[in-house]
């Protein structure tokens, strides 16, 4: 009897747009990764983590997708060297829980704990401390990369192949499959943050406060209200924080200072009607959210989860955007290009873009990654319903303004830019391609993102 062809699985990014089908295999060891790479078909192979890239970065239409969440195992913390070695499929959720119990924290965390270590390195993720600590790539001391050629290389910033190391930070999984990584860790006394909060009344006030006080804190971020009308557009809630010392905690919390709870409080329903999030509902949410924030508060002790990953409390929150999904637009413009930043924010505001999580942040030094996103400047991230009328044209207009201002888009968030735009935004792309061709001479590694943006 002929064997049944394996049923393909439809995959999307976190935005739930543009599904494509692939054969999914779940390796549990580096040897199984090598086996899957060796057995690649004509449509290629790609590693996928927890699927938190918003667009098409973690799908490979017609090919084989390696679900790398099975690449787990013991986490090895070396407190003397201040580093942790972890299998690439381990989530930040598990890693953070493991480290906090032992008085340490990850050097960088994105806005969700639901990412794998491998995926985080492949996207060179950043967090609220970018202006001080740069992105995750700056804290990767070593990584093990499985190549389609069958080799498994241990790469370090100053090792035998520093160029391949660079190309892998932010390389979107297209240089090989990361199977293990060693990251620097940060010692902490408590699992709490000491948070200062300020409410601002206008965009100018927001930008001014952030520019003036950024350097005083390890972590800063601003939630922005784009739907407020007139001069109030861009008002926001600026939160800045440092890790709380033991003495910063109120006495009841001192008894168990490293106590950490992950897990979710709520789950979004499996089906939500289209159009639930519109400029009316999100406008109302924004007003309530901002109103609930204190005008000025100093030294509040807040648990790490609530400060870094508030949306992790709502499982599958991406479903709130309805069956047509969402697209996230995240860009960075250099300091000095505030006019472009403000212009795009005004454009989003005029379009009535119902983004309930609009985040503004100042970025610091870049890492060495050829395709790594962060650059010194302002970064804005906006969630938009994918079926917002005229969205494609609106964002293409923003792309042009970004290009003119020397800005760029974040590949891990993108699902719609065109190839020429991205090529112009990433001048190191030709150098990256050379390294990649050496690592993957037969072009086995591929993603929908790479095809759409002609990265390979």
């Amino acid at each position: 009897m002929p064997s049944q062809p394996e049923r393909p699985v439809l995959l999307t990014g976190w935005g739930r747009t543009a599904p494509t089908a692939a054969r999914v295999v779940r390796p549990r060891t580096a040897a199984q990764v090598a086996e899957a790479l060796a057995g690649a078909g004509p449509r290629g192979v790609l590693a996928r983590g927890l699927g938190r890239s918003y667009g098409d970065a973690a799908q490979a239409a017609g090919g084989t997708v390696l679900d790398c969440t099975g690449l787990t195992g013991p986490i090895r913390l070396d407190t003397e060297r201040g580093e942790v070695t972890v299998p690439a499929g381990v989530s930040f959720d598990r890693l953070i829980a493991h480290l906090l119990r032992r008085g340490h924290f990850v050097p960088v965390t994105p806005g969700t704990r639901q990412v794998t270590v491998g995926g985080a390195i492949a996207a060179d993720v950043h967090g609220k401390n970018h202006h001080v600590d740069s992105s995750l790539g700056a804290h990767v001391r070593a990584l093990t990369l499985a190549l389609p050629t069958g080799e498994a290389l241990r790469l370090t910033p100053a090792g035998d192949d520093p160029e391949l190391f660079r190309a892998t930070l932010g390389g979107m999984g297209l240089t090989g499959v990361i199977t293990e990584a060693t990251l620097a860790v940060l010692p902490v006394e408590t699992s709490h943050m000491r948070v200062d909060t300020d409410r601002t009344d206008s965009l100018d006030a927001t930008l001014d406060l952030m520019s003036r006080t950024d350097a005083d804190y390890r972590y800063t971020v601003c939630w922005v209200d784009l739907l407020a009308q007139g001069g109030a557009m861009g008002r926001g809630v600026v939160t800045r924080a440092d890790h709380a010392r033991l003495r910063d905690l109120p006495p009841p919390l001192r008894r168990d200072p490293l106590r950490h709870r992950s897990g979710t409080l709520l789950a979004a329903p499996p089906w939500v009607p289209p159009g639930l999030l519109n400029s009316w509902t999100v406008g109302a949410f924004n007003t309530v959210y901002r109103g609930a924030a204190p005008r000025r508060r100093r030294g509040q002790a807040q648990p790490i989860g609530g400060f870094f990953h508030p949306l992790d409390a709502v499982r599958d929150w991406n479903r709130l955007y309805g069956p047509r999904g969402l697209t996230q637009y995240q860009f960075v413009v250099p300091f000095g290009a505030e006019e472009t930043l403000v212009g795009i924010m005004e454009g989003l505001s005029r379009a009535g873009a119902p983004s309930f999580l609009t985040v503004l942040k100042r970025m610091g030094a870049a890492t060495e990654g050829h395709l790594s996103f962060p650059r010194p400047g302002w970064t804005l991230a906006v969630d938009l319903p994918a079926d917002l009328p005229g969205l494609g044209g609106l964002l293409r207009g923003f792309d042009e303004r970004l290009l003119a201002a020397g800005g760029r888009l974040y590949l891990a968030k993108d699902g719609r830019a065109d190839a020429e735009t991205i090529h112009a935004m990433y001048p190191d792309l030709p150098a990256w391609r050379k390294v990649r061709e050496r690592a993957d001479p037969d072009g086995v590694l591929v993603s929908d993102l790479a095809r759409r943006l002609r990265l390979l």
């Binding site: 393909p8 439809l10 017609g62 090919g63 079926d387």
Partner: protein, 250 residues
């Protein structure tokens, strides 16, 4: 492939001179498509200027609806030109004239080959490619003429009925493959192809059909009607008693 805001990059039009097909292509290019392949018998020597003017690259390809042996090769050539096929518009066909068909039965069989069997081989060739690439949409131009066949154009109507059924079955067979089929059921559309027949009620322009297709591709619909009123209308007409249906004028 379709991007996160519903824009596609490549379009293949089978029936490269079809007015409705070209209106759909123009609409997709207006929305951001960048590579267009127009496939028709003898190629399309003088493609319409709109897609190129809107920034798309337009390719021409030889495609003979009546030569089913060549259809798989035609699809391969299109892939060689533009890569993955994001949208394939299956728009070829002939309307002809019922009286002429009755006078020349062989001509009726040839028309049926263009309007039905040609789509079977072309549709399966396209579907195989879409399944392999794991994404893509096949837009099939059916017609209300096939929803309930009328005595005034039953040669054309019966071929469209076959095509409509074929497309629905193909859609179900592709379920879960990442590829999909959108069945389009326009009513009377005044074009060169229909210039010789009397106008029917509830006409649609090629542009309106293109709008319906664009909306259907975005919403994930399996069937669209143009104009939309034809869907409830034909739900009623399907129930009309035969003696009355037989007497219905054009």
């Amino acid at each position: 492939m379709r991007d996160s805001v519903g824009t596609v990059r490549t379009v293949l039009l089978l029936g490269g001179r079809s007015e409705i097909g070209l209106a759909i292509v123009e609409r997709l290019v207006r929305e951001g498509a960048r590579e267009v392949v127009l496939a028709a018998r003898g190629g399309v020597e003088e493609p319409p200027s709109a897609p190129a003017a809107l920034g798309a690259t337009v390719h021409s390809l030889e495609f003979d609806a009546t030569a089913p042996d060549t259809h798989t090769a035609t699809v391969k050539e299109a892939v060689a030109l533009v890569g993955d096929l994001d949208v394939v518009v299956d728009a070829f066909g002939v309307l002809g004239d019922q009286a002429g068909y009755e006078a020349d039965p062989a001509s009726a069989a040839r028309a049926a080959a263009v309007n039905y069997t040609g789509h079977v081989s072309a549709g399966l060739a396209v579907a195989a490619r879409l399944r392999e690439q794991g994404h893509g949409a096949l837009v099939v131009l059916s017609s209300v003429a096939g929803v309930r066949v009328r005595r005034f154009n039953f040669v054309y109507g019966s071929a469209k009925a076959g095509l409509d059924g074929f497309a629905q079955g193909l859609a179900d067979s592709l379920h879960g493959s990442g590829a999909r089929v959108l069945v389009v059921r326009p009513g009377y559309v005044p074009t060169r192809m229909s210039a010789h027949v009397d106008p029917a009620p509830f006409p649609a322009t090629p542009g309106q059909v293109a709008d319906a297709v664009s909306a259907g591709l975005r919403s994930g619909a399996t069937t669209v009607w143009a104009p939309r009123v034809l869907q409830p209308l034909f739900a009623g007409l399907r129930l009309m008693p035969r003696p009355l249906w037989r007497r219905l004028g054009r």
